[in-house]
């Protein structure tokens, strides 16, 4: 009888363990103008909250440093942020190493993409944002007069070849903006860059199963715990009509999409959106979306932006030259609504 009672107790205990629900994903609302959802399905509460605390610190650091809406507040323990740097043209400014490294990475990608990735055209981006976010033109036709005025404004701003200089001296780090027309805007790299640091941290901590969803267009994935293949299934949103046009199967990868389908105005029926080409100072209309798959979320964030502005010839030259070394894969939804793929090992299924 005692044995039966003992067995029943074990059974009840086991059932209560089985019924234990999987920890819910954690949501951050406050960083980089983005909803960030972190899913780490580990049950150890203490370990989980320590991981999340550190992750929040990473996002907060880069949010504070790259903020270009206002100066650092008193409780933010950094030397300068992008806003304050932008106010000091032609001055040697001491910055934190974290920001120095991020700017260095932006410079490297600028060179890698032959100038198609450019964090210094904030003034040009601002002009377009004013148009795209204006209630009158949102998803509607921009009047000829307004469009012509924009072109005149754009003409007055130069895209500078070497917009900023970085120097290191005895463990101190400096930046100098070189021209009046330079305005730094790290929006196209900072989120991915911080996400990659989070990914590296989780891997370093021995976490295998996780997902980081930083905004709807940017993912960084470990393995999927509750699927035999351990692969995540990622659907690609159709940029011209509701629904999805294909599915990707991935693990231990970052994915990033740049597209023209959320915020845009129209001119001559073409979409004028927020991804601005530094070559033409205009939003390009070669593709509706460019989805990149690779190993480094920061690089991908920047590359999806750069590739979006490249003509298909420049695009293919870039892929030929760099696909293998960067382990870069791309799926492109073209303006004529065809899909082009540049894949290595990743499986893509078109619907």
């Amino acid at each position: 009888m005692k044995k039966i009672i003992a067995l029943m107790m074990i059974m009840m205990l086991s059932m209560s363990l089985v019924a234990c629900t999987r920890p819910k994903p954690h949501v951050f609302y406050d960083y980089m103008d983005t909803l960030i959802v972190i899913d780490i399905p580990i049950y150890n509460k203490k370990q989980r909250s320590e991981l999340l605390e550190h992750i929040e610190e990473i996002y907060k650091t880069y949010h504070d440093l790259t903020n270009n809406y206002g100066p650092l507040s008193n409780d933010e323990d950094f030397k300068e942020n992008i806003y304050s740097i932008n106010q000091k043209i032609n001055q040697e400014i001491e910055i934190d190493k974290e920001l120095y490294d991020l700017l260095q990475e932006a410079k490297t990608i600028h060179e890698l993409t032959n100038g198609y990735f450019d964090v210094s055209i904030g003034k040009i981006v601002d002009i377009w944002k004013d148009i795209i976010l204006n209630d009158e033109y949102f998803h509607r036709e921009i009047p000829q007069v307004v469009f012509d005025q924009v072109l005149i404004q754009l003409q007055a701003i130069d895209v500078v070849e070497e917009p900023f200089v970085l120097t290191e001296d005895n463990g101190s780090y400096y930046v100098r903006l070189t021209h009046e027309d330079v305005k730094l805007d790290l929006g196209a790299i900072s989120k991915g860059y911080a996400t990659q640091l989070v990914y590296d941290y989780l891997i370093e901590e021995g976490i295998t199963y996780f997902s980081i969803n930083a905004g709807t267009s940017s993912l960084s994935l470990g393995k999927k715990i509750d699927r035999e293949s351990k692969m995540y299934h990622i659907t690609l949103a159709n940029p011209v009509e509701n629904g999805q046009y294909g599915m990707l199967y991935v693990q231990n990868k970052a994915i990033n999409t740049s597209g023209n389908f959320e915020q845009y105005a129209l001119y001559n029926d073409l979409r004028y959106h927020h991804v601005i080409s530094p070559k033409t100072k205009l939003p390009a209309q070669h593709y509706h979306t460019v989805t990149v798959i690779g190993d480094d979320a920061g690089l991908l964030d920047a590359l999806s932006t750069a590739l979006f502005s490249m003509s298909s010839d420049d695009f293919e030259v870039f892929i030929d030259e760099h696909q293998e070394t960067l382990n870069l894969e791309v799926i492109r939804f073209n303006y004529d609504e065809t899909v082009s793929t540049f894949l290595l090992d990743t499986v893509f299924e078109a619907f």
């Binding site: 909803l35 949102f138 709807t216 990622i234 999805q244 994915i255």
Partner: protein
């Protein structure tokens, strides 16, 4: 009593329990990860539990919990208006110290959701249009609507 028989009975009991537990475990797994394609969840704040579920096929709105709002707001949020097919959440965005409503319109037949009213700089989320799959995110209001995705884990 024969000791051999008792041992046999113990083993049988253990096997039985093992099978039973296995069954329970599988049932829980299946239930926990069952996806229904035609649902959308409305979330408020940092909670990962939906405040409202829109079940398109069943044509039902399920209110999961009340929003914890100060008494000065005088209404019980979320407000579900079945005649106008709207769900109203009290957002976090403030104008003159007063939190603002976020009005979500749903359509059972079209299986769609749209944010039709909200206050925020640039009105990004009410401009996201009528969605049948794309998540709608109102950052300054801390309100979001996500569809249950029957095909993939994420959409980019």
């Amino acid at each position: 009593m024969n000791q051999g028989n008792q041992k046999k009975r113990d083993i049988m009991l253990a096997v039985l329990l093992f099978i039973l537990l296995g069954g329970v475990f599988i049932a829980f797994r299946l239930l926990a990860f069952k996806d229904d394609a035609s649902m959308a969840y409305v979330y408020y704040g940092t909670s990962s539990d939906p405040i409202v579920t829109i079940a398109f096929t069943e044509q039902q709105i399920i209110r999961h919990y009340d929003q914890d709002t100060p008494a000065s707001y005088e209404k019980d949020y979320p407000i579900i208006d079945e005649d106008n097919q709207t769900i109203t959440i009290l957002g976090d965005y403030m104008i003159d110290g007063i939190r603002q409503d976020v009005v979500i319109k749903y359509d059972f037949a079209k299986k769609s959701v749209q944010i039709i009213e909200e206050q925020s700089p640039n009105h990004i989320c009410s401009r996201e249009g009528e969605s049948t799959g794309w998540p709608l995110i109102c950052l300054p209001n801390r309100v979001r609507v996500e569809f249950v995705n029957d095909q993939g884990d994420f959409t980019v």
